[in-house]
């Protein structure tokens, strides 16, 4: 290890304009899609057509403010007790949401908390807390706690909130669990760990493929067995039935998935045109949220879907560059965490909408309707930009 003197001639990167641009672009794109997907629902509920758009614009503006603020603050401020506070606050909010009357239920899921007359989606807050605390943990204890022990500690720290949100928000639980795993993959240098992770991943994927291709009748038999012999209930298994065959209960449980597929399939190469889709007209539930990618496909076609996917890849690329060049492990790992969240969430969203994964109700980052998600994601991006600002390019002197 080499101790290097600071070289004042090193060039500062400054703000990552590319990342800022792609974030703002995605948000504006999201606003357009939200208006297209929600005006009908709003009208049906006897609200102004731009009701949801307005709310989302306000959230986006707050998010943008937060982004700029975070980008301006040196990120190292957060590497310390603030990370612990963020994590702890997230945990408390989750407990309040799940176990007290402060929790707000919509669509049969208790995912929101009402504070100061506003509702917040707690899982979004927890995600930042987990990312921050894990990055800080590595930064602070990597010397003292080595190898597997550190990995287990990281997993345990993420497992706690993941288990708490599991019941109401399976997809958020999966994202929270993915954050330490990706960090471990990056940090780890032992073959055995990779082998264990690889085997677990292959087994899990194989199980998914097996269930996906299983005969529905057989799956339903298993569902009955699970109902009788485990604390799980059959209605919780229905999600798997629908995943296996969306035409199962096409008017009930399978409705959302099937209508989403219809929307995607009918879009064609260039779509029906922005605003011209028909599936949002009462057919696709959650059109501006969990199913927004389906509406996007219907209206903008494959072209639009590819464009969006490329935007995500570009965003991840910018973040990867920042992480690789980050000045310290905290900045790098925080960025890795944000990358993980955005990548897993967008992949899950698209996979759910195309019925490649069971329907868990997951929003599309920066695009879907949802104030908490927008504000916190933009704050995270702000912090990543701040990390990027701290980079210095090595200059041969």
């Amino acid at each position: 290890m080499k101790v290097r003197r600071i070289n004042l001639q090193e060039q500062k990167y400054g703000y990552d304009i590319g990342l800022l641009f792609v974030t703002v672009f995605l948000c504006i794109f999201g606003l357009i899609m939200i208006y297209s997907a929600s005006y009908y629902t709003a009208t049906v509920k006897e609200l102004p057509a731009n009701y949801y758009l307005k709310k989302q614009i306000i959230s986006t503006l707050i998010g943008l403010g937060l982004l700029i603020a975070m980008a301006a603050i040196p990120y190292r401020v957060f590497c310390g007790w603030l990370s612990l506070v963020a994590y702890g606050a997230g945990l408390i909010l989750i407990v309040l949401t799940t176990f007290t009357s402060l929790g707000h239920t919509a669509g049969g899921r208790t995912r929101w908390i009402t504070l100061f007359g506003q509702t917040f989606q707690t899982a979004e807050i927890v995600k930042v807390g987990v990312i921050a605390v894990l990055a800080w943990l590595v930064m602070r204890f990597a010397k003292q706690i080595r190898g597997h022990k550190l990995w287990w500690l990281m997993l345990a720290i993420a497992a706690l909130p993941a288990i708490l949100v599991f019941k109401n928000d399976l997809s958020s639980a999966a994202i929270i669990a993915a954050i330490p795993i990706v960090m471990i993959v990056v940090l780890n240098n032992k073959k055995s760990t990779y082998i264990i992770l690889a085997v677990a991943f292959v087994l899990f994927t194989a199980l998914l493929i097996y269930i996906k291709n299983m005969d529905l009748d057989k799956l339903m038999q298993i569902g009955k067995w699970v109902d009788e012999h485990t604390p799980l209930h059959e209605y919780q298994m229905r999600r798997l039935y629908v995943w296996n065959d969306p035409t199962y209960d096409a008017k009930g449980d399978g409705y959302q998935v099937l209508q989403g597929l219809y929307a995607i399939g009918s879009g064609g190469l260039f779509g029906k045109g922005l605003g011209a889709g028909t599936q949002k007209l009462g057919f696709v539930p959650e059109a501006s949220n969990d199913m927004i990618f389906a509406i996007l496909c219907e209206e903008l076609g494959l072209f639009g879907a590819f464009a969006l996917i490329l935007l995500y890849i570009f965003m991840l690329y910018r973040m990867m560059r920042i992480a690789v060049q980050a000045e310290d492990a905290y900045g790098a790992l925080f960025t890795v965490g944000v990358m993980t969240q955005i990548a897993v969430q967008s992949i899950f969203h698209i996979a759910v909408v195309t019925n490649l994964l069971p329907n868990t109700g997951i929003s599309l980052p920066f695009i879907s309707y949802g104030g908490t998600s927008s504000i916190f994601l933009m704050g995270e991006v702000g912090l990543v930009i701040s990390v990027g600002r701290g980079r210095r390019e090595k200059k041969k002197t």
């Binding site: 006897e46 990056v186 057919f283």
Partner: protein
């Protein structure tokens, strides 16, 4: 990991080169997965795009609102409504609207007002509504109550309007909440305002407005049914929602030939009759002999088309309790079927008139022909008896005394083919084609099967089977101058506004006898009633009634089952009303059967109808 010393002198942990590599690989994997998803989309759209597009277009049809048609009414000949479809409403709850909170919290500000309004107007159980709202908070369509009346619907809408727009003295909204998320859909409920009246003639309509079971509801289902309309929205090229309303095409009104008063008299008298007599079936057909229009058709079986499965109008509670599932089904069918058109029996002596008519038309006999009744005939070694030995009789007296011997004598002078041809002309042996479902064709002999014995028994109405409508239809022709009109029960079809859609003129099928012979038969049957035969039971003072009795044996003879009947028409010289009554398997002592019951039932009905129809009092 490596520690680097920064300008501030602190050691800082950094990612090493391997970690950075793995970070790059992780990014690569994520990008690859995103690309894979994009590729999957390509295949999804390529393989299913077309069928999904179709599915979308199809379901937009399905999900659009159906505007139901109104099933056509059924009226009697004077426009009295026998069946109509009443506009009723289905109440739809939209929990997603009722529970909506603008702040996305749990406040549900409009819930209480809405639930309270529903409870207040309709008397619903608030707890039940709240349970549904809790169980399905996101549902947008719950059919909560059906068959609500227009008054109920309007009461709710008025309350809603008043509540939501109420203002206090300063012009501010009085209520902070709203009644909302309750819709009404129109549907129609089939209603038979006269209850059981003409039930077997009308039949009934099922839960679906396009269904008709039995009777006119079934036979004229195509006219009574309409076409559902629909209302749907679509997006036009400018991106605006456009509402399309396709009005339903309502069903047509069927105007029957039935006269509800005549029908009610016939039914009332049948009910009085069956209260005092044992029988298996009782049937009454009332017709206008000039056109073969059916004025009434009554049987002892009775049900309320508003509740077609309810058997209490025909069977006693004990009898229903005792029935097995299978027997119940059979009993229901018996209750719904129309004896007067669906059951064929040997009509007996009323059909002696046919034999006389054939003899005259074929010039085998004349009104002056003399016959000798010696108590019976031996035909191919079989002795066929008459009720008594009548001695010397002229043709007409053969009818007065209902003499089998005279009839056998006439038949013996006729050829088998001509007898059968006349029977066919009279509408026997095949369906008359009356506009009702479930008509039996009865049975007559054929040229190959008709033996000399069959010729003899046929002459007095035994050995073949005919439905009541067949016999009554033939009688109409014999007494109206010889014109066989197809018996029918519907006069015309009109649309909602009373515009004529289709008129059913009396359909002349054939001229079966000459006016002269018809006139002879009228006189002979008038004299039959005026004579001292059993037909005199149908005599009504002051009126010229023509008539003929029947006492038919049912086969096999050993079972001693009988059918009694009475055919009557008035006035005898210009018939305007014909009533035919059959009592199937009446009570009897051994082989002694009285046909008085049928005559009395007929007379009771006719007596009531004479003043109503203004039949001239031309008799003694």
């Amino acid at each position: 990991m490596k520690i680097s010393r920064e300008g501030d002198g602190k050691k800082r942990l950094k990612l090493n080169i391997y970690m950075r590599r793995k970070l790059t690989i992780a990014f690569g994997v994520a990008s690859a997965v995103l690309f894979a998803l994009a590729l999957y989309l390509v295949f999804l759209i390529r393989d299913n795009g077309e069928s999904y597009q179709k599915q979308i277009l199809q379901q937009q049809d399905y999900s659009s609102e159906v505007l139901p048609f109104r099933r056509g009414a059924i009226t009697d000949r004077n426009g009295t409504v026998l069946a109509y479809s009443e506009e009723v409403f289905t109440l739809i709850l939209d929990p997603s609207v009722i529970l909506y909170s603008p702040k996305n919290d749990n406040a549900q500000p409009n819930r209480n007002a809405t639930v309270q309004a529903l409870t207040e107007v309709f008397g619903f159980d608030a707890a039940d509504i709240n349970r549904i709202l809790d169980e399905k908070p996101d549902s947008q369509y719950i059919r909560y109550a059906r068959l609500l009346t227009l008054e109920q619907k309007n009461a709710f809408l008025t309350l809603q309007e008043e509540y939501n727009t109420a203002e206090d003295a300063q012009g501010r909204a009085l209520h902070s909440d709203e009644i909302r998320g309750v819709w009404f859909e129109t549907e129609y409920k089939r209603t038979y305002p006269k209850g059981t009246l003409a039930c077997t003639v009308q039949g009934f309509s099922g839960a679906e407005a396009s269904e008709g079971h039995w009777g006119i509801e079934e036979y004229y289902n195509d006219y009574l049914s309409g076409v559902n309309g629909k209302r749907y929205s679509y997006m036009n090229q400018n991106g605006d929602m456009e509402d399309v309303r396709q009005s339903p095409e309502n069903g047509k009104t069927v105007v029957t030939t039935i006269d509800w008063y005549i029908q009610s008299v016939a039914e009332e008298k049948v009910q009085e009759f069956i209260a005092d007599n044992e029988y298996k079936n009782v049937g009454v057909v009332v017709m206008d002999p000039r056109t073969a229009e059916v004025l009434a058709m009554a049987t002892d079986k009775c049900f309320d088309p508003n509740e077609p499965a309810d058997m209490s109008h025909t069977y006693t509670e004990e009898a229903i309790q005792a029935m097995t599932e299978e027997e119940l089904g059979e009993a229901r069918n018996q209750m719904w079927r129309n004896f007067t058109i669906s059951d064929a029996n040997s009509p007996g002596s009323v059909c002696k008139t046919f034999t006389v008519a054939i003899g005259l038309e074929e010039a085998a006999v004349t009104p002056e022909s003399m016959f000798v009744c010696d108590g019976g005939e031996d035909v191919n070694g079989v002795h066929i008896g008459c009720t008594e030995t009548h001695g010397d009789l002229i043709l007409e007296e053969g009818l007065w005394y209902s003499c089998n011997d005279v009839m056998m004598n006439i038949a013996a002078r006729l050829s088998v083919p001509s007898i059968l041809q006349y029977e066919r002309n009279f509408g026997l042996g095949s369906q008359t084609g009356i506009d009702l479902p479930g008509e039996a064709s009865g049975s007559i002999f054929t040229e190959d099967t008709m033996s000399a014995v069959d010729v003899a028994t046929t002459s007095f109405g035994q050995g073949y089977a005919a439905t009541m409508i067949q016999v009554a239809g033939a009688y109409c022709a014999l007494i109206n101058g010889g014109y066989y009109y197809r018996p029918h029960i519907v006069r015309q079809i009109v649309d909602e506004n009373g515009g004529l859609v289709k008129k059913f003129e009396p359909e002349l099928v054939k001229t079966v006898v000459t006016e002269e012979i018809s006139s002879f038969l009228r006189t002979a049957l008038y004299n039959t009633v005026e004579s001292w035969s059993t037909a005199r039971n149908g005599r009504i003072e002051g009126y010229k009634v023509g008539g003929k009795t029947s006492t038919a044996q049912k086969y096999p003879i050993e079972e001693e089952r009988y059918l009694i009947a009475y055919m009557a028409f008035v006035p005898a010289d210009d018939p305007q009303l014909l009533i035919f009554v059959e009592v199937d398997e009446p009570e009897h002592q051994g082989t002694t059967v009285s046909n008085e019951g049928a005559a009395k039932l007929e007379k009771a009905i006719m007596t009531e109808l004479l003043p109503y129809l203004g039949i001239p009092k031309t008799g003694k």
